[in-house]
C-alpha cells in the first residue's frame, strides 16, 4: 500500500490581487488519514486547497509533496499522485457517465497512447466503488444531485491518486446523500489507504468523518488535532464567533457542536 507520501505546507502565503487570504501557514497532512479543514466563510479554505493542487501559485512559501515543490513538478506526474475535486466542476452538455469518469484517466495517458485495458479497468473500478456502474450509459445532465456527486468522485477515483483533495464534496446534497458521500470517502481511505483532505462546511460532519481536524482562522491554522481536541466551545467561539455547547455524539462517539443563538433556547443552554 502506498500511503507513505508526505504532503506539507511551509510558510504559505496566498492571495488574489491586493488581498491576502492565507498568511504564513504551516501544515503537515497526515499520510493515510482523513483530514477535514473547517473555518468561517472566506477564511481561505478553498484557496488553500487550490494551492495544494497547484491551481494557485503561492506568494511565499511552498507546498511540498514527497520532498518536491508541487509548483515545479510536471503537471501529469503530479496528477498521478494528487487528485482534486473542485467545488463546482462543470460537466459538458450531454456527456455520459462512463465518458466523464474516463476523463480521470488523462494523467495516465501519453499524447499518442490509446486507451488500454488498464484504463477500462480503472474506470470500471471507480464506477463499482461509487455504485454508479448502472448509470454508465446515462447522460450526466439527467442525474440527481447525489448521483452526480458520486460520478464526480468516480472520476477522481479513476485518476487513481494516493492523495485526494475535495472542496466541499457535500454541498447541494441532502443529508442522506451527504452521509453517503462521506461514507464512500471513508471506505476509500480504509480499503485503499488513500489520504483524503476535504474542506467541509458542516462542523459536526467534519468532526465525525475526520481523523485530523484543522480549523482555519484569519489565514492561519488556529487549531489542529483529533476532532475531540479541536472541536471545543472555545475554538468555535474564536473561529466562528459563535457560542455553542459541545457534547459527545451518542451515535459516533465524536464531539457534536450545538450552536447557541438568541432564540429557541432552553434554560439549560444559558448555563
Amino acid at each position: 500500500m502506498t500511503t507513505d507520501h508526505t504532503l506539507s505546507i511551509e510558510n504559505l502565503t496566498l492571495g488574489y490581487a491586493d488581498r491576502t487570504v492565507i498568511d504564513g501557514l504551516d501544515l503537515l497532512v497526515p499520510a493515510g488519514k482523513v483530514t477535514a479543514i473547517v473555518g468561517a466563510n472566506a477564511c481561505g479554505k478553498s484557496t488553500l486547497l487550490r494551492s495544494m493542487s497547484r491551481l494557485l501559485a503561492p506568494r511565499t512559501g511552498r507546498v511540498v509533496l514527497d520532498g518536491r515543490d508541487v509548483h515545479r513538478m510536471p503537471a501529469k506526474q503530479l496528477a498521478r499522485t494528487l487528485g482534486l475535486l473542485p467545488q463546482s466542476p462543470i460537466a459538458p452538455e450531454g456527456i455520459t457517465v462512463a465518458d466523464l469518469v474516463g476523463r480521470g484517466r488523462h494523467p495516465h495517458q501519453g499524447i499518442l497512447s490509446r486507451w488500454s485495458r488498464e484504463d477500462d479497468i480503472a474506470v470500471a473500478e471507480a464506477l463499482e466503488a461509487t455504485e454508479t456502474a448502472a448509470l454508465a450509459e446515462r447522460s450526466v445532465d439527467e442525474l440527481s444531485g447525489g448521483q452526480r456527486q458520486r460520478v464526480w468522485i468516480a472520476m477522481a477515483l479513476a485518476q487513481q491518486t494516493d492523495l485526494l483533495l475535495l472542496d466541499e464534496p457535500t454541498t447541494f446534497l441532502d443529508v442522506s446523500h451527504q452521509i453517503e458521500v462521506l461514507d464512500l470517502l471513508t471506505d476509500l481511505n480504509s480499503t485503499r489507504g488513500t489520504t483524503i483532505v476535504m474542506v467541509l462546511h458542516d462542523l459536526n460532519l467534519a468532526a465525525r468523518y475526520s481523523d485530523h481536524l484543522v480549523a482555519l482562522s484569519a489565514g492561519r491554522v488556529h487549531a489542529q488535532g483529533s476532532p475531540a481536541e479541536v472541536l471545543t466551545e472555545e475554538v468555535v467561539r474564536t473561529v466562528f464567533g459563535l457560542d455553542s455547547r459541545v457534547i459527545l455524539d451518542p451515535t459516533s462517539g465524536k464531539p457534536l457542536m450545538l450552536p447557541i443563538g438568541r432564540h429557541h433556547m432552553t434554560e439549560l443552554s444559558a448555563l
Binding site: 482534486l84 473542485p86 456527456i95 462512463a98 480521470g104
Partner: protein, 362 residues
C-alpha cells in the same frame, strides 16, 4: 507507473474481480461504439465532400463529363474544359473546401474552449477584425497575398486579445465575452464598410467579399496561403484536441487532471485565430460557417469525443454546397456568404431564444 499497478491489485479487495471485468467490458464497448460512430460520421462527411466537389467541377453553365474533368486535373488539354474547369471551377472548389475546413475547425475550437456555442469567432469579432484588416490591406494599401494574410492574422489576434481583456473581470465569463465581442464585431464591420467606401475602384464584388464572404474570382494565388496555414496549424489544433476536451470540465478540474491550461489555451488561440484569419484573408468572413459547423457536427457525432475534425468537414461541406446553391439555385447569382447567412441566422435566433428561456446561461 507503480502507483497504478499497486492499485490494480489492491482494488480486488473492494470490488469482486469478475464484476469489475464485466463492467470494464461494458465501459470498453460503449467507448468503442462512440469511436466507431465518430469514424463513420467522418467517413460519410468525407465522401459527401468528394461527391459535391466532383459535382461542382462538372456542373455549371456548361456540363463537362467526368472524363473531361479528370483530364483537366491530370493536366491534359481539353477544349473549353481546360479554362472553365482548370482556371475557374477547380480553384474555386479547392478554396471552398480549404476555407470551409479552416472556419469549421476554428469555430468549434472557440466554442469548445469558451464552452458556449455563441462564442464562435464570427460572432465575437475575430473574423470581423481579420476582414477589416484584409480589406484595408488590399483596398487601401494594395498589398500582396502574403502581407494581407499577415495583416489579417495580427488583427485577428489583437481583436481576440482585446475582447478577452475587456471581458476579464475576476475571471472570464462567457456571456460577457460574447456581448463585448458582438459590440466589437459591429464596430469592425463599420470599419470595413468605411474602407470600402473610400476605395477608388469600389465595386459590389469586393464589398460583398469583405462583408459577407465570397468565392467569386478565386484563383490559385489565394489557395496557397490557406493550404499552407491549414497544413501547419491544423495538426497543431488536432494535437490539442485532448486538452480542449479536458478543458470542458472547467479550468480547475482540467488542471487537476494534469492539463497545463494556460499554455494549452495560448497555443489553441493562436492556431485557431491563424486559421480563421488566413481563410478570411482569402474569401472574406463567410457568414456563420464557423458558427454552424460545430453544433451541426456535435448533433451528428453525439456527445463525447473531439469535434475538431468532424466540424472541419462540416464546414467544408457547408461552403461547397452553399456556394453551389448561390451560383445555380436561384435566378440571380449570390455570393456564398449570403447563402450561409440565410442558413445561420435562424440558428442564431434559436440559440438566443433558448438562452433567454434557460435564464441567461447557455
Amino acid at each position: 507507473m507503480n502507483a497504478s499497478t499497486v492499485h490494480a491489485s489492491t482494488a480486488t479487495t473492494d470490488v469482486p474481480t469478475q464484476r469489475r471485468e464485466i463492467t470494464a467490458d461494458t465501459v470498453a464497448s460503449s467507448r468503442r461504439r462512440r469511436a466507431t460512430r465518430r469514424r463513420a460520421v467522418m467517413a460519410v462527411l468525407g465522401a459527401l465532400i468528394v461527391v459535391c466537389f466532383a459535382i461542382t467541377l462538372m456542373v455549371g453553365q456548361t456540363f463537362y463529363p467526368p472524363a473531361d474533368v479528370i483530364g483537366v486535373i491530370l493536366g491534359h488539354d481539353v477544349a473549353g474544359a481546360t479554362f472553365t474547369v482548370g482556371r475557374l471551377r477547380l480553384p474555386r472548389a479547392v478554396l471552398a473546401v480549404l476555407v470551409g475546413l479552416c472556419f469549421g475547425i476554428g469555430g468549434v475550437t472557440f466554442q469548445t474552449m469558451l464552452r458556449n456555442p455563441l462564442a464562435s469567432p464570427d460572432i465575437i469579432g475575430i473574423s470581423s477584425g481579420a476582414s477589416a484588416a484584409a480589406a484595408f490591406a488590399i483596398v487601401t494599401l494594395s498589398l500582396g497575398e502574403a502581407q494581407v494574410s499577415a495583416f489579417a492574422i495580427v488583427a485577428g489576434l489583437v481583436v481576440a486579445l482585446v475582447v478577452y481583456g475587456l471581458s476579464f473581470k475576476s475571471g472570464v465569463v462567457g456571456t460577457r465575452l460574447i456581448l463585448i465581442g458582438i459590440g466589437i464585431a459591429a464596430m469592425l464591420d463599420s470599419v470595413t464598410a468605411y474602407v470600402l467606401s473610400q476605395a477608388a475602384e469600389w465595386d459590389l464584388q469586393e464589398a460583398t467579399r469583405w462583408l459577407t464572404g465570397s468565392l467569386n474570382g478565386s484563383n490559385w494565388a489565394q489557395v496557397v496561403p490557406v493550404l499552407v496555414a491549414l497544413a501547419v496549424l491544423g495538426p497543431v489544433l488536432v494535437g490539442q484536441s485532448r486538452n480542449l476536451s479536458m478543458g470542458q470540465l472547467g479550468d480547475d478540474t482540467a488542471s487537476a487532471l494534469g492539463v497545463r491550461v494556460e499554455r494549452s489555451r495560448i497555443v489553441v488561440i493562436i492556431a485557431a485565430v491563424g486559421l480563421i484569419a488566413f481563410a478570411t484573408a482569402a474569401t472574406g468572413p463567410i457568414a456563420f460557417v464557423a458558427f454552424l459547423a460545430g453544433p451541426i457536427a456535435s448533433r451528428i457525432v453525439g456527445p463525447g469525443g473531439s469535434l475538431l475534425i468532424p466540424s472541419a468537414l462540416v464546414g467544408a461541406l457547408l461552403v461547397l454546397v452553399a456556394d453551389f446553391c448561390g451560383q445555380f439555385a436561384f435566378d440571380t447569382r449570390f455570393p456564398v456568404g449570403v447563402v450561409t447567412g440565410v442558413l445561420g441566422a435562424p440558428y442564431l435566433i434559436y440559440l438566443i431564444v433558448r438562452t433567454n428561456r434557460a435564464g441567461g446561461s447557455l
